[in-house]
């Protein structure tokens, strides 16, 4: 695919300019006047009751009301998606690609409003909320170009008297099960990849962010995707389980926790009565990502990058840094500066531009992360202050130094603003530790030695290695994203191979010899 040449990432909002900040705050105030948003019962009657989303910084503020979908709703949604498959898949690739591009345009028109919505519904700080909306636009544009390239098929060897072709075909209805941490971008990627290759989709956004999911669906529908080719199914676990198990589903694109991902892989593998295909699963799961700091690293660069990687969006990214593996020669210096930098972090509501990090997503996440912190037997720990008495779901950004390797904080994915820093004897020793981990998503290396950089790069120990920079913030097209081991099934989102998972290749070989002549 030659999308690399024409694709450009959507420019971020330039929040460093005061008028842009002022505009954003106006958009937020405007959105507030419309709350709570009511998301229609597009997926049928609301037999399951209501699903409510709240501002994590102020749980008294209701953001959206949506139907809480049931298993029956999931079945109904799939029937619709199945009925739409024939006509949607029959469209030519150019038409579908143009539809995605129109949807990208619609998101672009609503940039500020959507960013404000993420700030309120996901508690995502402005720059990161904006980056998420940009990434959603990027996915639509990138996969539109990718689908056009894919439609040209592949060249095969040709012999005299034989014409060989290879083309890609859509597979059927897909289930997209999305997380709340990139509430627009991740579903935009999964939904648009399935749609643009000619599949139909039932999309279940995370229960915490139905309004963000709805905004995406709205844009795609307005751009011309038929209502039944993309069905929004809001709800919690029940409808998701039904989608995964249902025989009409051909593929499942999931991003979320490792446990849920493994459950989906398992459930999807059981063929149901009447199911005449094998379900494919794309699962993007967790990470326990390490940043290796070589003895020759520049701490002026490493410290801010580690802080950003570990505490950006309160560590609620699968790409976030959880462990620092620092060569012992500079461990003390690094620990001291990291500690000081953490104390200087400001925790506050996402809507305040001055907040370095904000809340975690909900009360459940708060309790889970606090259990990690309470259970950590080992001190010292370094923390920043958090706002008190607001009711917001705040966890103090926390650093642990030299925890024993058996500690839960070292071993398990916390998915919160918690970082552990361990000493290693060498970069080689750090690499061994990374390899022993369950996950292989992102990783970082700070080094000024070309040979060390080359050595670690070649090993391919993680899906996305970032050298001398922060390890989050993958850009569509530039940093195809996804990992190995228990981090996911691949392929790389926002990369040249992603669409292949949503299609089936068919080849035709035609004999062109008639009466002994090649015609």
């Amino acid at each position: 695919m030659s999308t690399e040449n024409t694709f450009r990432n959507e420019p971020a909002l330039e929040f460093r300019r005061e008028p842009v900040r002022a505009q954003a705050l106006r958009a937020l105030a405007e959105l507030r006047t419309k709350l709570p948003l009511r998301i229609g019962a597009a997926n049928g009657a609301a037999a399951g009751g209501e699903l409510l989303s709240y501002n994590p910084a102020n749980p008294a503020e209701l953001i959206a009301v949506a139907p809480a979908g049931t298993a029956a709703d999931a079945r109904a949604a799939l029937v619709r998606a199945d009925s739409a498959f024939e006509s949607w898949s029959a469209l030519d690739a150019g038409t579908r690609a143009a539809t995605l591009q129109r949807a990208a345009g619609l998101l672009r028109e609503r940039r500020l409003e959507l960013t404000a919505l993420e700030v309120l519904e996901a508690g995502k700080p402005w720059p990161e909320a904006d980056a998420d909306v940009c990434e959603a636009i990027d996915f639509l544009e990138y996969y539109a170009l990718g689908a056009l390239a894919l439609d040209r098929g592949r060249l095969l060897p040709q012999l005299p008297g034989e014409r060989n072709t290879l083309r890609y075909y859509p597979r059927g209805p897909h289930a997209v099960i999305a997380p709340w941490n990139f509430p627009m971008a991740i579903p935009a990627g999964m939904v648009s990849a399935a749609l643009v290759t000619g599949n139909t989709v039932v999309f279940k956004p995370a229960e915490q962010t139905p309004a963000c999911g709805h905004a995406l669906v709205q844009a795609l529908h307005s751009a011309g995707v038929p209502e039944d080719a993309l069905v929004l199914l809001t709800g919690a676990d029940e409808p998701a389980r039904e989608l995964v198990a249902h025989p009409l589903v051909h593929g499942i694109a999931f991003t979320g926790s490792c446990a849920a991902g493994q459950h989906i892989i398992h459930a999807a593998a059981q063929a149901q009565p009447g199911q005449r295909h094998v379900k494919r699963v794309i699962a993007e799961m967790g990470g326990k990502n390490c940043i290796i700091v070589d003895a020759d690293a520049d701490l002026d660069d490493a410290v801010p990058a580690i802080i950003k990687s570990a505490f950006g969006f309160a560590g609620q990214k699968c790409s976030a840094a959880a462990r620092v593996l620092v060569c012992e020669q500079i461990a003390d210096a690094l620990n001291e500066r990291l500690a000081g930098a953490i104390r200087a972090l400001r925790v506050g509501p996402a809507e305040d531009f001055a907040s370095d990090l904000a809340t975690v997503i909900d009360a459940e996440a708060l309790a889970r992360i606090n259990a990690f912190l309470d259970g950590a037997e080992h001190e010292p720990r370094v923390q920043a202050d958090i706002p008190v008495g607001t009711g917001g779901h705040y966890v103090p950004p926390t650093l642990f130094v030299d925890l024993p390797p058996s500690s839960r904080i070292v071993r398990e994915e916390v998915f919160g603003p918690v970082l552990s820093c361990e000493r290693v004897a060498s970069v080689e020793a750090a690499v061994r530790i990374v390899r022993e981990g369950d996950f292989g998503l992102t990783g970082g290396l700070f080094s000024r030695s070309p040979q060390t950089i080359e050595y670690v790069s070649r090993l391919g120990i993680v899906g996305n290695l970032y050298v001398n920079r922060e390890i989050t913030g993958a850009m569509v097209g530039r940093h195809p994203f996804g990992g190995g081991r228990l981090s996911g099934t691949g392929p790389k989102a926002g990369g040249p191979d992603y669409l292949l998972t949503f299609v089936e290749a068919r080849s035709v070989s035609e004999n062109t010899v008639r009466h002994g002549l090649v015609i």
């Binding site: 420019p11 801010p304 030695s449």
Partner: protein, 453 residues
């Protein structure tokens, strides 16, 4: 005076400055070491791969904790550069020969240290005292800049503030013994302090945030306030440097807000920096001039006009976010804008504003234009100050002093580790294709160099 006449005058001034650069050769580098260095600079300008390799070495040098580490890095950089550079291959062979490694490391280490010494006057003000005094004796005044690691924590901000305090005191003490010098100490607006410190607000606080300038306002406020009080009490000048665009709003707002306080109505002497490479720098100038008109203070205000030291950073940052670059991307437009702002500053001074324009550049054309325009306005020679960086502008400073104009030398002090980032930036600037000094080093014709941008 019309345009053509002004151009003639610019050329005259430029020729005169060029003549003052030195006698031994046209670019004014006299002693043998300087000639060797010039040869090195020339080969670096011509060989970008070798240049990258050596700069990466300079960059990592202070982090190498043993000679073995030093050699390892040097040979790795050279090896990588060797793919496209014969010079680098030759050097790589040299450093990889076993018996040679230790002496090579020593030489490489020393080389960096001596290069650093050219740009960095000493560990601190005390260590630089004799250097500063001798500059004064040669008819050049100074401003001190404290190099340091990035401030990422409160204790680091506090340490920097303490260093500023100590430096102001040390400067006050040492400069008390300097011989009087009318040109360096007075202009039509009154006396000019001998003690002069340039401060980086980003070093005072870890709370500078591009998206929330108000955060630094409260975080750096107390420290800057104390420095202003001390400068006032000591009769010293306090200048705030300008850094990347991300910090401009914080720095400007904070500094102007403090200066407007009643307690600073009569002092200290203070100033700020205007970066001409920013495409919106004229609006920034309007903002500063407007503020000056509304806040008449007893002490005149200095505006140091520079092109800007973060050009690559601004361009890269903008490209990565998909923003229009905030800087001019064409050298000549940048230089033209610099001259435009020079004229605006001098006009404002001629119009009676208590403003001291300081033209900071090593570009003879930029300097000559400022002198010629100032003269054309009928301003007294002491109304204009010219500024250069130590190490880069030593010959230029001599030429300006010989011309009879006030020149201030910006002298960084600090240790080698802290100074590396500064050193690398200066070396890159000095050998970049877009640099006036590089053109001068490679022997470009002075008439071409003085051409109107």
């Amino acid at each position: 005076m019309d345009d053509a006449q002004l151009e003639d005058r610019v050329h005259e001034c430029g020729q005169r400055l060029a003549a003052g650069l030195g006698s031994a050769d046209a670019s004014g580098l006299r002693h043998p070491l300087a000639i060797g260095e010039r040869r090195m600079m020339r080969s670096l300008i011509a060989d970008p791969r070798l240049r990258a390799a050596l700069f990466r070495f300079v960059d990592v040098r202070p982090a190498c904790q043993s000679r073995t580490e030093l050699v390892r890095h040097l040979s790795e950089f050279l090896e990588e550069a060797g793919a496209g550079s014969e010079n680098a291959r030759r050097l790589a062979r040299l450093t990889s020969r076993r018996g040679l490694t230790l002496p090579t490391a020593g030489a490489a280490g020393l080389g960096v240290a001596s290069m650093a010494h050219r740009f960095i006057a000493g560990e601190d003000a005390q260590a630089a005292a004799s250097e500063l005094t001798s500059l004064w004796e040669q008819g050049r005044c100074v401003t001190l800049d404290l190099l340091g690691e990035a401030t990422l924590t409160e204790p680091e901000g506090e340490r920097y503030a303490q260093r500023c305090t100590q430096t102001l005191r040390a400067l006050g003490q040492m400069s008390a013994g300097w011989a009087p010098n009318q040109l360096l100490e007075h202009d039509g607006l009154g006396p000019l302090p001998r003690a002069n410190l340039s401060v980086k607000v980003s070093a005072l606080t870890p709370h500078l945030r591009a998206n929330a300038p108000e955060r630094a306002l409260s975080a750096a406020r107390d420290r800057l306030l104390e420095l202003l009080r001390l400068a006032r009490d000591l009769g010293a000048h306090l200048h705030v440097d300008m850094e990347s665009l991300d910090t401009r709003e914080s720095i400007t707002e904070l500094f102007l807000e403090l200066l407007a306080l009643d307690e600073f109505a009569d002092g200290p002497s203070a100033g700020i920096v205007l970066q001409a490479y920013l495409t919106d720098s004229e609006e920034q100038l309007e903002l500063l001039l407007g503020w000056l008109e509304q806040h008449p203070r007893g002490a005149p205000f200095t505006i140091r006009l520079v092109k800007g030291a973060y050009w690559d950073h601004e361009v890269v940052l903008a490209a990565q976010h998909g923003w229009r670059a905030p800087v001019f991307t064409d050298r000549r437009s940048c230089d033209r804008h610099y001259e435009h702002l020079t004229r605006r500053l001098l006009d404002a001074r001629a119009g009676g504003l208590a403003l001291r324009p300081a033209i900071a550049s090593h570009n003879l054309r930029s300097l000559a234009h400022a002198i010629a325009y100032s003269d054309a306005l009928g301003l007294a020679p002491d109304a204009l100050e010219l500024q250069v960086l130590r190490g880069l502008g030593d010959d230029t400073a001599a030429a300006i002093a010989a011309y009879g104009r006030r020149v201030r030398v910006y002298c960084p002090v600090g240790d080698l580790v802290a100074g590396m980032a500064y050193l690398v930036r200066r070396l890159l600037e000095n050998t970049s294709n877009d640099s006036f000094l590089a053109a001068q080093t490679t022997g470009a014709d002075i008439n071409l160099l003085l051409e109107r941008p």
